[in-house]
């Protein structure tokens, strides 16, 4: 078991090294002008400089904070609303068509609406993130509740569980695999919208810093920002994977 995961880790690192190598070869051969496309060394130098003394660290923290706040807000509202809708067949029939209409709306299309109401503010960006990241959690919770084993519902009736207990002790845990998968998706959406929101509303953060670097042809800074964004996404998704494995321990044993 441990052997297998070590091999997987080594393979993963190997892939990453190969990627950087190809990157270096392409830039060294000057296939693309270095003004637009810096090599790994220049990107790394910009990264170190930005994180040690520059504004990059502050901007990174700003973006992470924005992403997390929006994600938490979306998760809270999404799961709560999803539970309320999902527990009742009638509510599901009533709400589902409305959700199907709203869901495909690109969250970025909501930005002008949010700007009209909230102006170019941090609140606006937060609302846009929460709105965009809400859907996976909301839909997963509704579907997870709807997919609860009917037999369990009968068990709850025979045992005399209250409605709240049915939600908390049966429906929510049985929807948990779906909800956890949606939390991961929601985190990715939150990161994307945090960056887009910062770019459009020029709030301090990686989005704004990347845009500024691009406009002033500081391509190493631009790529440093992108690398950090990739790292944030990777770490976030990894942390949630670990949480998932712990929370779904009962499921892993069945395989």
């Amino acid at each position: 078991m441990r052997h297998l995961s070590l091999r997987k880790l080594l393979l993963g690192i190997g892939g990453l090294v190969l990627f950087i190598l190809v990157w270096k070869l392409v830039t060294d051969a000057k296939l693309v002008s270095p003004i637009f496309f810096p090599g790994p060394e220049r990107t790394y130098a910009a990264l170190v400089k930005g994180l040690s003394g520059g504004a990059l660290l502050q901007q990174t923290l700003q973006t992470i904070q924005r992403m997390l706040l929006g994600w938490l807000l979306a998760s809270f509202v999404g799961i709560l609303l999803g539970a309320l809708v999902g527990i009742s067949k009638r509510a599901r029939a009533f709400i589902a068509p409305m959700l199907e209409l709203l869901r495909p709306l690109p969250a970025s299309a909501m930005i002008p609406v949010a700007i009209a109401f909230l102006g170019f503010s941090d609140h606006m960006v937060l609302v846009v993130i929460a709105f965009g990241a809400l859907w996976p959690m909301l839909l997963a919770t509704i579907h997870g509740f709807a997919a609860m084993e009917p037999r369990l519902y009968e068990v709850s009736q025979v045992l005399g569980l209250s409605r709240l207990e049915v939600i908390w002790k049966l429906a929510l845990p049985s929807a948990m695999p779906m909800i956890l998968a949606s939390l991961r998706l929601g985190l990715t959406i939150s990161l994307i919208l945090a960056v887009v929101g910062e770019m459009l509303a020029s709030r301090e953060g990686l989005g704004q810093s990347i845009l500024a670097a691009s406009r002033s042809f500081r391509s190493p800074d631009l790529f440093a920002g992108i690398v950090i964004l990739g790292a944030i996404g990777l770490v976030g998704s990894r942390l949630l994977s670990i949480a998932e494995r712990r929370l779904l321990r009962w499921q892993a044993t069945s395989r």
């Binding site: 037999r151 045992l159 005399g160 002790k169 845990p173 009962w250 044993t253």
Partner: protein, 274 residues
């Protein structure tokens, strides 16, 4: 069929403990059940005495499970009445526990064995400090003492069904309903569990209604056997089982009376299968 309504049940077999009293626990009167134009149950009347074990057999489609679901309050009769201790069964009720055949679906996969039993205690409002001791006793009683921390997915079918029975016992029910509980288990496990259930029923004095498609199981467990006939489901015959208790997997099954009953029931059921 009206004859069967008379609760002049002759009990020739003597129980070791918890003798069946004359008190009527379940009273089913002229019950019918239809879905649209389809009549599933067409007029069943049956009394079950407190402490008695009644087995229900019959071909598929005779409404065995439906009848049991009505006793559990999970299905409502179209007409007629189902009473527990003199009051109508209007819906699911903690004093009537039901063991489903599909234990895999009836257990909470995200809770351990102890957690699954705990659910019944939580529903009854037991303070959390009192639960562990009760859970330990129940799991011990049903032979899962060493598996309290296992998840259902880590347990065999027999263990999972034991766990479901333990959860039902945690309800401290007056009536235990069994819906073909051992149908999915291998023969050996089934016999072990039959004896365990008999022991539990004897020690708790619970009334049991046991649905099965296995004639021998019905004879082995029951005080009486109700044979249902299909289209629509109705009582064909009621057979008294006069085998002594406690029963024994070898001795009881070799008893000439056991063999006679098996032949009688076989002939009855065979006619319905033609």
């Amino acid at each position: 069929m009206a004859l069967t309504q008379l609760s002049t049940r002759m009990q020739t077999g003597t129980r070791n403990s918890a003798p069946a009293s004359d008190e009527t626990r379940i009273r089913i009167r002229d019950v019918t059940l239809s879905y649209g134009n389809l009549q599933i149950i067409g007029g069943i009347s049956l009394d079950v005495a407190a402490g008695e074990t009644v087995c229900i057999i019959g071909p598929s489609g005779c409404g065995k499970t439906t009848l049991l679901r009505m006793l559990a309050g999970l299905a409502k009769p179209t007409s007629g009445s189902v009473e527990l201790d003199g009051s109508m069964i209007a819906g699911p009720n903690r004093s009537v526990a039901i063991v489903f055949q599909d234990y895999g679906k009836a257990l909470l996969p995200w809770r351990t064995a102890a957690g699954n039993v705990s659910l019944a205690l939580e529903a009854r409002g037991f303070p959390s400090a009192e639960r562990p001791a009760i859970i330990r006793d129940l799991l011990e009683k049903i032979g899962l003492g060493r598996h309290a921390d296992k998840y259902p997915a880590e347990m065999s079918g027999g263990m999972q069904q034991r766990l479901q029975i333990a959860r039902c016992l945690a309800q401290e029910p007056k009536v235990l309903l069994m819906d073909e509980p051992f149908g999915a288990l291998d023969a050996m496990t089934r016999q072990v569990l039959q004896d365990e259930v008999l022991g539990l029923v004897a020690s708790t004095g619970a009334t049991m209604v046991f649905v099965t498609h296995d004639l021998e199981e019905a004879i082995y467990l029951g005080d009486r056997i109700v044979c249902l006939q299909p289209n629509p489901g109705r009582v064909g015959r009621i057979v008294d089982v006069s085998l002594s208790r406690p029963r024994d997997q070898l001795l009881t099954r070799e008893d000439p009376e056991f063999l006679r009953l098996r032949r009688e029931l076989y002939d009855l059921i065979k006619d319905d299968h033609q």
